[in-house]
């Protein structure tokens, strides 16, 4: 953090409230994230998206896996679930199917969603499960100390690749599209407006939606790779990112220091899991099919 940002330009009124406060569990502040970390920025965008989408917050649930990003669930003042490492998506699948009126948001890290949880990601996308998946991609396993992950670009130095990563990384947006996602976008934490807008958009879109947010981990990733602090990373994002809405996802792979293609790449309509299930059941069972919409354990 740089000195200037610590100065308070004016006296805060005692009852001043940040408009995002109602969306957060203020009794859990301060949060655990480091200065300059991008996760908080994404949460800010998320709360603004919730505000703007006018969603009924009692019907929005957040499901996270494990990691720095996984802690988002704990700060969101919503029904929120901090599950196990990699398993946010299958947990969210059960939650959504049992209670279809919920808007279920999966909020997790690149390692959680694409290494240990990679299998669940592709299958939920294939099924077009009605989940909104937000991946904070800091290009590393941050929580455990900055090890190589499935999204870490080649030549990056990490705790487990002290001589540089040599295995190829996933292009997450291409993977999401290929697996069947209905909506695919990528932004960086520099693009707060665009990110908030994408988040608002997916709150209204049916089907499996995926937003990748490239985000700094100054404590581990940037420091180890001599890429500066949080502010330097913002400058890097600003300089290197190029908005190309509708760009073929195959052209959006990330490298250590190269261009970052951002934008909305995919926005298509595919029948969702629930729709397909009821269509099939109606076709084969006719009137005998009992729609599972109301599930009630008191019954």
């Amino acid at each position: 953090m740089n000195e200037a940002t610590l100065e308070t330009p004016f006296e805060m009124p005692a009852d001043a409230q940040n408009p995002v406060e109602p969306f957060l569990r203020m009794d859990r502040m301060p949060h655990i994230w480091c200065p300059g970390c991008g996760i908080g920025t994404t949460v800010n965008c998320f709360t603004r998206a919730l505000l703007d989408s006018k969603a009924d917050l009692d019907k929005v649930a957040v499901v996270s896996g494990i990691g720095c990003t996984g802690r988002v669930a704990g700060y969101a003042n919503l029904d929120s679930f901090h599950t196990t490492h990699g398993r946010a998506i299958p947990f969210a699948t059960g939650l959504k199917l049992a209670n279809p009126e919920l808007q279920v948001v999966v909020y997790s890290g690149d390692g959680d969603l694409f290494a240990i949880g990679g299998n669940h990601f592709i299958h939920a996308a294939r099924r077009n499960m009605d989940l909104k998946v937000i991946c904070v991609n800091n290009l590393t396993y941050a929580m455990t100390g900055g090890q190589t992950g499935p999204a870490t670009p080649s030549h990056v130095i990490s705790a487990t690749s002290p001589y540089g990563v040599f295995e190829p990384s996933f292009n997450l947006v291409q993977l999401a599209e290929a697996a069947g996602a209905a909506y695919v976008a990528r932004w960086t934490t520099y693009h707060v407006k665009q990110l908030a807008r994408s988040m608002e958009e997916v709150m209204k879109k049916k089907g499996f939606c995926f937003i990748e947010v490239i985000s700094p981990c100054p404590t581990l990733y940037q420091r180890r790779n001599k890429m500066g602090d949080g502010l330097d990373t913002m400058k890097f994002y600003k300089q290197m990112s190029k908005t190309r809405n509708g760009a073929p996802t195959s052209e959006c792979a990330l490298t250590k220091a190269g261009e970052i293609v951002v934008g909305k790449f995919v926005d298509r309509d595919r029948p969702g899991y629930f729709e397909m299930m009821s269509a099939q059941m109606h076709e084969t069972l006719g009137d005998r099919y009992a729609s599972p919409e109301v599930m009630c354990s008191e019954c």
């Binding site: 569990r25 009794d27 859990r28 917050l57 009692d58 019907k59 649930a61 499901v63 669930a73 704990g74 003042n77 919503l78 029904d79 929120s80 679930f81 901090h82 599950t83 196990t84 990699g86 398993r87 998506i89 299958p90 947990f91 969210a92 699948t93 059960g94 939650l95 959504k96 199917l97 049992a98 209670n99 009126e101 919920l102 299998n119 669940h120 299958h123 299930m277 059941m281 069972l285 005998r288 099919y289 009992a290 729609s291 599972p292 109301v294 599930m295 009630c296 354990s297 008191e298 019954c299």
Partner: protein, 385 residues
């Protein structure tokens, strides 16, 4: 098939244990199942997949057992009663989520139709070698309840009991079948829905401002809520305080882990489920469960015919172990004979409780088939000497 609106297939049927177990889940009110195919357990969810669309619920075949065992927990917090089914290798994969269910106090049911292990082992043949795994397989200290049916009828009845216990104590309940019980076909009587006792989920009556997700009642069990009801609650597998918020506090850890284990104490004592026969004058008690209890029955008869005072103690709730009942016997019998389809698992519990007061004789078997009753008889004869 004609089931009533509640999914109860009232009538007299000829069913195998797996199918009877499925009917038990439906009768108990389960409306969500997630599974991944594995012999010899798949029949449970195959039947569920066939039955549930007309009852009103969801079956989803997940991409693996990790997914299945956590999807059911999402469904529970969404308001459904839910379960998954597996065997050996799949049970191993589910361990982390048994721990998650115990830690987050998510009421749900795991059915494990035991087959020969280790590893892929004997996919189509019986064993009872997952008994210790059921208790200790996930990391950390935690509590679960494990039930061992020994007939298709009991697969139906005990599955309902299992769901009821899950709701009452907010725990994962493990139905520990074995391949023989899962695949044997017998008469199964399913009563009318009104005659079944079904424990509803204990939802809080407090308004959101006053409600705390992990505030235990007097019975040490907290009330439930479900997502979407306006409570804005947080669930985590991290050590958490009564609000459900993560805590790194050593006292919180001590308090919560002890409660997770202690709330199930009734099953060591008065709530333990077991069946006994000929214990009044018994000098040798055969302790067994599942399919082995049916083989042991024959051995006990043969021993009695020889004039040996043998008796039967059939474990039904294996975990928590029925300490009190075994303890009462240990003071007055000469020996316990413990046949199981493993190289000695529950026998360690019998020995722990007997604490040297009676001889404890294991009758081991690596699985693949059942014991020869003669082998158990020989152990009884030896014990009586």
């Amino acid at each position: 098939m004609q089931a009533d609106a509640k999914g109860v297939l009232t009538g007299v049927h000829f069913l195998d244990g797996d199918h009877a177990c499925c009917e038990g889940t439906l009768a108990a009110g389960a409306r969500f199942a997630a599974g991944y195919p594995i012999t010899p357990s798949t029949e449970v969810v195959e039947r569920f997949a066939q039955r549930i669309p007309t009852v009103g619920g969801v079956f989803i075949q997940m991409e693996d057992e990790l997914a299945a065992s956590i999807a059911i927990q999402g469904a529970v917090w969404g308001g459904a009663k839910a379960f998954t089914v597996t065997s050996g290798p799949g049970f191993s994969l589910m361990m982390e989520h048994i721990g998650y269910a115990a830690m987050t106090e998510t009421p749900c049911v795991f059915v494990n139709v035991q087959r020969g292990g280790p590893s892929t082992g004997l996919p189509t043949l019986p064993a009872q070698a997952d008994m210790m795994q059921a208790k200790w397989g996930s990391h950390g200290d935690y509590g679960i309840v494990a039930l061992c049916p020994n007939s298709p009828q009991e697969c139906f009845d005990l599955t309902i009991t299992g769901f009821n216990i899950a709701e009452e104590f907010r725990v994962p309940v493990l139905m520990m079948l074995d391949e023989c019980v899962g695949h044997m076909t017998e008469k199964v009587v399913i009563p009318e829905a009104e005659q079944l006792e079904i424990t509803p989920r204990r939802y809080t009556k407090l308004p959101p401002e006053e409600f705390r997700l992990y505030e235990p009642r007097e019975d040490m069990v907290p009330d439930m809520v479900r997502a979407g009801a306006g409570y804005r609650f947080h669930v985590t597998g991290l050590t958490h305080d009564e609000r459900g918020y993560p805590s790194m506090n050593v006292e919180t850890q001590d308090r919560s882990v002890r409660r997770l284990v202690d709330k199930l104490k009734p099953f060591s004592n008065g709530r333990a489920l077991f069946e006994t026969e000929d214990l009044e004058d018994a000098q040798v008690v055969v302790v067994s469960y599942g399919i082995t209890s049916r083989v042991a029955q024959r051995a006990i008869q043969l021993a009695r015919a020889q004039g040996i005072k043998a008796g039967k103690f059939r474990i039904i709730s294996a975990w928590p172990f029925p300490d009190q009942a075994i303890d009462a016997l240990a003071g007055r019998v000469k020996a316990f004979v413990v046949p199981e389809l493993n190289l000695g698992q529950m026998v360690h519990e019998v020995a722990r409780v007997a604490a040297g007061r009676a001889k404890v004789i294991p009758v081991t078997h690596a699985g693949g088939t059942v014991h020869n009753p003669e082998v158990i008889l020989n152990a009884i004869v030896e014990a009586a000497r």
